[in-house]
């Protein structure tokens, strides 16, 4: 068995944390996984991505067109991410727009939800578009994680694995707020 997850977003959205949580949760679920984050100019508003490969994988990097699940933290990045999916794959994206410079300068049009929807219908992609009222924008990643678990999008992964992973990486109030929001969202 092999299952590929590709996470994509904009620097500053907490992609590193989401990826670290997922890898630890997958490990708690008893599955082998390897992965890699892109760093470099990550924090300067550029594209950040993270690869997670579960099961029989060699390279830490996914092959475009063969990914099972794409998690995108932003709408323009959802468009970039959807092109990594295999036929029949799944996209979960947080519906916020951090307009890239060409959009802000009026050189290109903003990516719309309709464009993503149309493309997914034509290409046999299942899409979950999510948006929440959050106490802190930095919790957009947690909303994605909760939706992965709620919709059982990663084989054998359940909420307990995620709670344990959170305990590995967070403490105090931050742990409490995130676990509460995560559980509430999973059970909604």
């Amino acid at each position: 068995m092999k299952f590929d997850v590709f996470i994509i977003g904009v620097g500053g959205q907490g992609i590193g944390m989401l990826s670290e949580l997922l890898m630890r949760a997958i490990d708690y679920s008893g599955q082998r996984c390897v992965g890699v984050d892109t760093h470099g100019l990550a924090q300067r508003g550029g594209v950040v991505s993270s690869h997670i490969r579960i099961g029989e994988a060699f390279s830490p990097m996914v092959v475009p067109g063969e990914v099972d699940l794409v998690l995108a933290l932003e709408r323009h990045e959802a468009a970039r991410g959807i092109n990594f999916l295999k036929k029949g794959g799944t996209l979960v994206y947080y519906d916020t727009s951090w307009q890239p410079l060409p959009v802000r300068l009026g050189k290109e049009k903003e990516i719309s939800n309709e464009e993503i929807e149309r493309f997914s219908l034509e290409n046999d992609v299942k899409v979950y578009r999510i948006r929440y009222k959050l106490p802190d924008v930095r919790m957009q990643n947690m909303a994605l994680l909760a939706n992965v678990v709620k919709n059982k999008l990663i084989p054998s992964l359940n909420f307990n694995h995620c709670l344990k992973a959170m305990e590995d990486l967070m403490t105090g109030d931050i742990l409490k707020i995130n676990q509460e929001f995560f559980l509430k969202t999973v059970n909604e």
Binding site: G35, L41, G46, M61, P100, L101, T171
Partner: protein, 615 residues
């Protein structure tokens, strides 16, 4: 919460999910490394992060960020010849900075042992080139380990220390961006603290002065050690053998990419993977060549292995068909599974099908990196883009401020390396009386390599303006401290007898006037344009529990002049479907640096909100 600092110093054995860089730190601890030095640079700074996560009183080795890579290497060298095992780590192009001292290392008896960890960057993810540092190994007679994943990064580090101590020889552990960041569950061994000893004994272990007749003595020593390293390299060969006619010789991460793309054809080709890529395991290579009719050399970047393997085949009279690099594209970029698939398909299309472009793909919009909201560099670029004519010249340097070269500012037209800007600007100002020349320089780079160029500009009386972008940290690589914490830049400049020095906070309304004055001053002048790194500031603010702050809003006074978007270009300003400007509340940090730029005064702070309020 798991604290990585505590995990790394526990007795063990244990296993933990970590990246290659973090695994190295456990390697340092287990193997008894005593002195570790560095200058920050991607893809290696997480080695320092993991090191610093260990409280100093529990950390069994000394660590410092040195002024630059060369100084870091020299500190590690000094420690090693005094009997203390040392390690220095830096990024790919750091190799050029250390080169002057590095090339001497193999001639020295490094009694404590010394590991040089380099982070090469195929694909230039965060570097100004993708130079292949394996060439330095041949130049300097220094052996190189090349791991394929995080587990092996750790394992090879231990071996590197062991052999380095035994042979009193420097050794390179060569990471690439994605072995440094390779994340997996790594199995670690036991940590047993050992007593260290220290003894610099030049009479016994020298000579250490490479002058005159000593040079030949020392060089012979290095070459003799290299012969021993060749034998060691035979212990780090890994075979996949199914008695095929075709074979691949490879190393490092491209090996995993190869396995990935071969899929069900994995048993139709044999593989020899090299764990030490300099000096080569000659006997294993001869045997592998003889056993196969065709051999493909699969190596990222340059044809380093290919040239040597072909010469071995020639010397041995082996007639095996050797496939090396076929075209320019084979020399460029990271060997991801996609890339390796395309490379193998060019030689053996029956094994791997050339990856086709996705038949249909969704439109994407490019997202160039940019300065963070509130960045103190932004007002400087905004002001410069107003003051400089199209005719004038701006010289970029390395750091966050390099991003000024992008739209919409386009400040910074030429870039070589760390600290080059003052030298290059000096040259540009010669035989040039009509075009203004401005050089930019970051504060960490000022100390790293900027000083010689500045002293030169003073001494030789060059005519240009230097703007030092002081944000108080080494921001681009993750906010490491630099000497500016103790040494004031202004005082240094004054000591150099520079007459025209201005110091200004970049949020201050007189920034424009100050920069203009300096541009209109003949001779060498310096503006210290300061503002603390706001990314660092907002992170520290969040740690204090401050999440919601008053943000900016665009009031009804907005006349759509578009200055905030098209000229100041803070990413928090966006436009809606009707072309109206609004503030993206995910992004605005409430810094207010934009207030003065709106010609109609439409940018104002919203009222203060309490945590949890609706936006």
């Amino acid at each position: 919460m798991k604290k990585i600092g505590d995990i790394l110093v526990q007795e063990g054995p244990f296993s933990e999910i970590v990246i290659g860089n973090t695994a190295i730190v456990r390697g340092m601890i287990e193997s008894g490394v005593k002195v570790v030095t560095s200058y920050p640079g991607s893809p290696t700074p997480e080695i320092a992060e993991a090191t610093k996560s260990i409280p100093e009183e529990k950390r069994p080795f000394y660590f410092e960020f040195s002024t630059n890579e060369k100084v870091a290497l020299e500190v590690a060298f000094g420690a090693s010849i005094n009997g203390n095992t040392s390690c220095v780590f830096f990024k790919s192009v750091g190799m050029n900075v250390v080169a002057d001292s590095f090339v001497q290392l193999s001639m020295m008896e490094l009694t404590g042992g010394m590991v040089v960890v380099i982070g090469d960057d195929p694909g230039a993810n965060s570097s100004q080139n993708e130079q292949d540092n394996r060439h330095y190994a041949r130049l300097s007679y220094t052996p190189v380990f090349e791991p394929k994943d995080a587990q092996e990064v750790y394992g090879m580090f231990l071996k590197a220390v062991e052999y380095s101590r035994e042979l009193r020889s420097p050794v390179i552990l060569r990471l690439t961006t994605h072995t440094a960041h390779f994340k997996q569950k790594v199995n670690f061994g036991k940590y047993i603290p050992k007593e260290s000893y220290a003894e610099f004994a030049p009479e016994e272990n020298g000579p250490y002065i490479p002058i005159g007749s000593n040079v030949a003595v020392m060089k012979r020593r290095a070459l003799e050690k290299l012969k021993i390293w060749e034998k060691i390299s035979e212990r780090f060969v890994f075979f996949h053998n199914s008695k095929n006619d075709r074979g691949v010789i490879t190393a490092g991460l491209p090996y995993l990419s190869l396995l990935e793309v071969l899929k069900e054809n994995i048993n139709r080709v044999d593989i020899l993977r090299l764990g030490i890529i300099y000096p080569l395991p000659r006997n294993s290579i001869i045997k592998f060549l003889k056993e196969h009719k065709e051999v493909k050399i699969l190596e990222e970047l340059d044809d380093f292995l290919e040239e040597k393997i072909k010469s071995i085949a020639y010397e041995e009279g082996i007639r095996t068909k050797i496939h090396g690099k076929l075209d320019v594209e084979d020399w460029i970029g990271e060997y991801t599974p996609l890339k390796v698939g395309n490379i193998i398909a060019k030689t053996w299309p029956d094994l791997v099908q050339n990856a086709k472009e996705a038949p249909r793909s969704l439109r994407t919009v490019s997202r160039p990196p940019q300065l963070c909201p509130g960045c103190g560099h932004r007002p400087v670029f905004y002001v410069l883009s107003k003051l400089l004519s199209r005719h004038d010249i701006s010289v970029a340097d390395i750091g966050c401020h390099t991003l000024g070269f992008l739209e919409p500012y386009k400040i910074g037209q030429v870039l070589l390396s760390m600290g080059h800007s003052t030298g290059t600007a000096s040259g540009l100002s010669l035989f040039n009386s009509s075009r203004k020349v401005v050089a930019l320089l970051g504060d960490s780079t000022f100390f790293h390599a900027g000083l010689p160029g500045i002293i030169n500009a003073v001494y030789n009386d060059h005519d240009f303006t230097l703007i030092i972008m002081e944000n108080g940290t080494t921001a681009m690589t993750g906010h490491q401290d630099h000497p500016g914490k103790r040494i004031r830049i202004r005082k240094l400049l004054e000591a150099m007898e520079i007459k025209n020095i201005w110091e200004v906070d970049t949020y201050n309304s007189n920034l424009e006037k100050t920069v203009e004055e300096s541009l209109n001053t003949r001779g060498f002048s310096v503006v210290i344009a300061k503002h603390p790194c706001m990314l660092k500031f907002t992170r520290e603010r969040r740690k204090k529990g401050i999440i919601k702050v008053p943000q900016m809003k665009v009031t009804e006074k907005c006349t759509l002049a578009n200055v905030c978007i098209a000229k100041f270009a803070c990413p928090a300003f966006q436009t809606d479907n009707e072309g109206k400007v609004f503030v993206q509340t995910d992004l605005c940090i409430g810094d207010g640096s934009c207030r003065g730029v709106c010609p109609s005064g439409a940018l104002q702070f919203e009222k203060a909100m309490k945590a949890g309020d609706k936006k």
